[in-house]
């Protein structure tokens, strides 16, 4: 009030609230003095409750601005935060207040990152109110714009870290506010959840829980557990971090509380805490989850499974806690076969299901133990308290998890149930509950319902279990009792329930079981159809005009659909008979209508949604639980198929399972099956016949085998003999072969010798011929040299003579000229008288002398002619000698040719030999393999021979060449002779020239 007083003093008296607020806002934004601003803020605070809208519209920016501007001044900040919080508070009675203001404030913070950062930084302040108010503001902001605020806090430097560190504050109010903030912050944001977890949040939560006294602590424990729940929900990374950090034992520790009465004022919170803690456990083992198996094992090792069972079967636990504990147990063992087996061995405290919980608490005796399965069955089947329903359902869920994915367990359980039932055991038994529909069961409709559901899980999709259940029969035929199967008992109960209008849960329970059982199981369908009146009862239920119970009518129709779908031609009530009952008497459209209505019923359609919310709502009467989730899945999966089943021709059957062997799903014509069956029988007969013939044949075969054995032995002896014979033969052949090879070898040697001799002869002949030729050639050469020397000598001689004669002639010519000169001189002296005598004398002289010279020359010429004639004759003799040499050469070549012919003859002989060898080879080859080797050797020999032959030919060629050479030499000789003759001719020319000269001279 004093504050208002100050304000009123400050403001002009007539101002109304709006203008006062505007003034204050203006002052807040413009004042330079801290005191003025603080006064303005305090003024605004006092208006904030009443005039939210006006204060907010004018002052929000200024207020937020102050948070960073005046952060040093704790008092101012405190007032600012208080004012802001007041603006957030929604006041229903104040018309100016609206949700939009809070939203607007939120946006003012979240749209400007720095404003959030300022708030987070204020958390550093140790002042109690500043911290508290800042946290409360953050909570308010977070509530208004969750995702945007999450992003802002994530972006703020050290945002998450600072928020989580608030949890260490020793002041409970701040710590608790911090927990609430982090709960909100972590909601649905995986990254933030991880960051919070890495700030050691698990450790901090457990510390706070322990500080607060575990599950017996207050609401703050629940908050902590809620936070754990938020951090771990569908966050596999955080879950494994939790496990790695060793937090599982700490979680287990929460369940280690004494089983003793709890004062009623504390019980509610304690139970809430326990249920929250169990919810945290269940987060880790969500069926089908990624880390479920690892978590199941870790939780089992930490003893949580055992602790859960202790709580579930304690006389001090209320049903909701027991139910949650059992649900946790169910999740802990789901589809984990080692744990399922461990679980079955566990023992729990025996609780008498027929007494009230209060009495149970008094009778609490932890030493009175029974197996857990018995305890679960007692609870599920025998505890008829309405309050126990959740726990009974949870016990059923436990059993379902116990069976899940474990065929041996299912078969064992079923066998056990059958045996106990057959023995008439008194303990809780699924089968007994199904078969005995007595007064108690009618009073507690969920007994049959739960028994049906448990049985459904036992046989669902398990051929072996189905067959086992189908094959069980009751009643001693010998004692005159009627023998009935389980299906028959159940159908009888169902018919009774339908006729007497028992509780719908009983009927629905039976129908759920029968639908799943008879589906794809034609033998079971046949079993049911044995009692045609059951079908009548079902049809009349569907035909009831009232819509009083659509669920039952729909289920009956659905079941009839299944019966028809899997009935057969040979069923007790054949398809052909069943079809008109359904299609005409009940009516096809009626059927479709009822099945569709069932599918559209909210109990079926929205089952998954109901399931989550259904359990806690009801207070009065029986719970509205009619269906099991497995059955609903089954119904929804097969709905359209069964709906259409009625339109299927009765002639077409659906063969699904015969003795557990799955067949094609599509309809198969019955005639086709019959014809195939007939064929099969024929074939069977034939096969039988064939088998008998086969047998006789086999006997024969054994006889023959004996005979053949004997024959074989005899044959072996013969073979030995034959072997010996062949051995001797071989030896013989070897000897023969050796002889022949030797023979051939000697022949070859002989041939070689001959070839050598011939070659030697040939070479000898060639050598002789050559020598002879050489000798003759040498002789000829000598002669030629001699004749050349003679010719040379003659030449020389003749040249000397010619020169001499020339010199003589010249001398004579000189003498003549001299005489001429003297005669001329004499003539000169003796004038003309003497000239005639002298000329006569000179002429006579000259003629005389010339005639004398001519005579001498003629003589010389004749002698020369004689010489040349002699030389000619010598040349002719040489020519003759040459011709003889040539003829001799011809002779030698002839001889060579003859030797070639000889060699050719040899070759033919060799070829003949080869041929004979080949023949021998061919004759011997097939007899013995050994001979081939030697034959090959022979061939090699022959090759050698051929090589030698080639050598001989080569030698012959050499001889040829020598002959050629000698002929070439002969040619040379001929050329020389030609030269000689030419020279001689030249000499003759020279002589004639000389003669001509002489004649010319003489003429002159």
């Amino acid at each position: 009030m004093s504050l208002l007083g100050i304000l009123q003093a400050q403001a002009p008296p007539k101002q109304d609230a709006t203008s006062t607020i505007q003034t204050l806002c203006l002052r807040l934004s413009t004042s330079t003095l801290l005191e003025d601003r603080r006064a303005a803020i305090m003024g605004l605070r006092s208006f904030a409750r009443e005039y939210k809208e006006t204060v907010a519209s004018g002052g929000l920016r200024g207020l937020i601005g102050t948070l960073s501007k005046d952060s040093e001044d704790v008092d101012t900040i405190k007032v600012v935060l208080e004012t802001l919080l007041l603006l957030f508070v929604k006041d229903e009675s104040n018309p100016e207040s609206s949700e939009d203001i809070a939203l607007w404030l939120t946006d003012e913070f979240t749209q400007k990152q720095e404003n959030i950062t300022v708030l987070i930084e204020l958390l550093q302040d140790s002042d109690f109110y500043i911290r508290l108010y800042a946290l409360q503001l953050l909570v308010a902001i977070l509530n208004n714009r969750p995702s945007r605020t999450q992003e802002c806090i994530l972006t703020a430097p050290l945002g998450i870290s600072r928020l989580v560190s608030v949890l260490d504050d020793k002041r409970d109010a701040i710590r608790n506010e911090g927990i609430l903030l982090i709960i909100n912050l972590s909601n649905g944001h995986t990254d933030i959840q991880k960051l919070i977890a890495f700030e050691n949040a698990f450790e901090r939560m457990f510390s706070i829980i322990e500080l607060e006294g575990g599950v017996e602590g207050g609401i703050i424990v629940q908050d902590c557990l809620q936070l754990l729940n938020n951090l771990l929900s569908f966050n596999v990374s955080n879950q494994s971090y939790f496990r790695e950090m060793g937090c599982v034992p700490r979680l287990a520790k929460l369940f280690q509380f004494a089983q003793e009465p709890v004062p009623s004022y504390a019980k509610e919170q304690r139970d809430a805490n326990i249920e929250y803690a169990m919810k945290v456990c269940r987060l880790f083992v969500v069926p089908g989850g990624l880390g479920a198996a690892a978590n199941q094992n870790a939780f089992f090792n930490a003893g949580i499974l055992h602790l859960m069972l202790v709580i579930a079967f304690s006389g001090f636990s209320d049903f909701p806690v027991r139910a949650e504990a059992l649900r946790t147990v169910a999740d802990l063992i789901h589809e984990n076969s080692p744990l399922q087996e461990n679980f079955a061995q566990m023992k729990v405290q025996y609780l008498d299901p027929t007494v009230l919980p209060e009495v149970q608490a008094q009778q609490n005796n932890p030493d009175d133990l029974c197996y857990v399965i018995e305890g679960l069955l007692d609870l599920a089947l025998l505890n008829s308290s309405i309050h126990a329903f959740d726990a009974r359902l949870a016990a059923c869920q436990c059993l379902e998890s116990y069976f899940a994915g474990n065929k041996p367990v299912r078969l064992h359980f079923l066998n056990h149930a059958i045996n106990l039932h057959a023995e008439g055991d008194e303990s809780a038994n699924v089968l007994t509950c199904l078969i005995n529909l007595d007064q108690d069961s009618r009073g507690d409709p969920y007994r049959v319902w739960l028994a049906s559901v448990i049985f459904l899980h036992l046989i669902y999709n398990d051929e072996e279990a189905k067959n086992l259940a189908t094959s069980f029969k009751e009643g001693d035929a010998d004692a005159g009792e009627e023998v009935v199967t389980v299906i028959q008992s159940i159908s009888a109960n169902l018919v009774a329930a339908l006729e007497h209008n028992y509780d719908p849960r009983i009927i629905i329970g039976y129908l759920m079981l029968l639908c799943t059982w008879l589906f794809e199981d034609s033998p079971a369908v046949d079993d049911f159809l044995n009692e045609a009146s059951s079908v009548q009862s079902l049809v009349s239920t569907v035909k009831q005009p009232s819509n009083s119970n659509l669920l039952i009518q729909g289920l009956c129709a659905f079941f009839l659909g299944i019966l028809y779908e899997f009935s057969r031609k040979d069923s007790p009530l054949p398809r052909a008979t069943l079809h008109p009952i359904l299609a005409s008497r009940m009516g096809r459209d009626h059927y479709v209508n009822k099945v569709t209505k069932l599918r559209e019923n909210p109990q079926v359609r929205d089952f998954e949604v109901f399931r989550q919310t259904n359990h806690r709502k009801r207070k009065m009467g029986l719970p509205e639980v009619y269906f099991d989730h497995t059955f609903i899945d089954f119904l929804k999966d097969n709905y359209s198929r069964i709906l259409r089943a009625i339109d299927k021709d009765p002639g077409l059957e659906t063969h699904n399972t015969i003795n557990g062997i799955p067949h094609a799903l599509n309809g198969i014509s019955v005639e086709l099956v019959d014809s195939l069956k007939a064929q099969l029988e024929d074939k069977d007969e034939e096969l039988q016949k064939l088998q008998t013939t086969c047998l006789t044949l086999e006997q024969k075969i054994t006889q023959e085998q004996h005979e053949s054995q004997r024959a074989k032995e005899a044959a072996a002896v013969e073979v030995q003999k034959a072997n010996a014979a062949t051995e001797t033969l071989r030896q013989q052949h070897d000897a023969e072969l050796r002889a022949t090879t030797q023979k051939t070898r000697s022949e070859v040697n002989e041939l070689e010798g001959r070839i050598q001799r011939i070659r030697w002869e040939a070479t000898e002949a060639v050598r002789k011929a050559k020598e002879h030729g050489d000798r003759e050639i040498a002789v000829l050469r000598r002669r030629v040299a001699e004749s050349e020397a003679v010719v040379e000598k003659e030449k020389m001689e003749r040249a000397g003579e010619i020169q001499r004669t020339k010199a003589e002639a010249e001398k004579a010519i000189e003498q003549v000229t001299l005489r001429l000169h003297s005669a001329e001189k004499e003539a000169l002296f003796a004038h003309e008288s003497l000239r005639k005598s002298e000329e006569h004398a000179r002429e006579s002289d000259q003629l005389l002398r010339a005639s004398e010279a001519l005579k001498a020359a003629n003589e010389r010429i004749t002698s020369l002619e004689e010489d040349s004639r002699r030389q000619k004759s010598e040349a002719t003799t040489l020519l003759e000698a040459l011709t003889t040499a040539q003829s001799r050469l011809e002779e030698s070549t002839k001889q060579q040719a003859a030797s070639e012919v000889w060699i050719g003859g040899l070759e033919t002989a060799l070829a003949a030999l080869e041929a004979s060898l080949k023949k021998e080879k061919s004759t011997h080859a097939h007899i013995l393999h050994g001979a081939q080797g030697s034959a090959a050797a022979l061939e090699v020999r022959v090759n050698e021979l051929e090589a030698r032959l080639r050598d001989a030919e080569h030698a012959r060629k050499e001889a040829d060449e020598a002959a050629k050479q000698s002929s070439a030499e002969l040619d040379d000789l001929f050329i020389i002779l030609g030269d000689l003759e030419e020279k001689r001719k030249g000499d003759k020319v020279f002589f004639f020239l000389f003669l001509a000269l002489c004649e010319i001279y003489c003429g002159g």
Partner: protein, 215 residues
């Protein structure tokens, strides 16, 4: 302290960025014009009490004006303020045709989120600009408004103040007419209409009196 109003009505300003929504609000609430106004972040808020007629005893409506950001990035935020709005100023810029064509989109969004009986006024802002800058003729806008079930159209200038008062008064009167004709269930808090409880009884009395007079 008695409140100086009879009803509170929530009004939202919507339209493309830069049409002058904030300037209109400031002009109405504070009577000034700032030629360099920053772009709106999220939402601004202001209020003004408007008498529904000129008589001195006239009923007064307090308009809570939520001035939203026109930028696309704030659409998610601004949309949450549409809820419960009883009136809206759909603002466009007469010098930019695009802002007028986008009005269709704004109208759809508004009708999707706000009350079915919302009173919408089409406002063509910046009419102080010369005809040479004008891209949207007034006739065209008026025809569009009629075609889209918008009751009133007005051209304004936040700069000169021309038509601004008129726009909001139109809106207030429209809302008042709706209140009087019983369109709104005044007990339903989801409407943006709130009655001054101190005065409501009086006004109800007046109403009955008037009715009584009629009969």
């Amino acid at each position: 302290m008695p409140q100086p109003w009879d009803y509170i009505a929530k009004v939202v300003n919507i339209g493309d960025s830069g049409c002058g929504k904030s300037s209109l609000t400031i002009r109405l609430c504070e009577g000034r014009f700032n030629p360099t106004h920053d772009v709106t972040i999220g939402v601004e808020f202001g209020s003004r009490i408007i008498p529904v007629d000129t008589s001195p005893t006239a009923q007064k409506i307090k308009l809570q004006i939520w001035d939203t950001a026109g930028q696309e990035s704030f659409r998610a935020i601004t949309k949450s303020y549409f809820r419960g709005a009883t009136g809206a100023l759909l603002v466009y810029d007469i010098s930019r045709r695009a802002t007028f064509t986008h009005a269709t989109g704004w109208l759809e969004e508004l009708r999707g989120a706000a009350d079915a009986n919302i009173s919408i006024i089409l406002v063509g802002n910046k009419c102080d600009l010369g005809d040479d800058k004008r891209e949207v003729p007034a006739e065209e806008a008026r025809a569009w408004a009629e075609g889209n079930g918008i009751k009133a159209f007005v051209e304004t200038s936040a700069k000169t103040g021309e038509g601004v008062e008129e726009a909001f008064v139109d809106c207030a009167r429209e809302i008042y007419r709706n209140i009087k004709s019983g369109v709104y269930d005044l007990n339903d808090k989801s409407h943006g209409i709130k009655t001054n409880t101190a005065k409501a009884s009086l006004s109800m009395d007046e109403q009955t009196k008037v009715r009584g007079g009629c009969c």
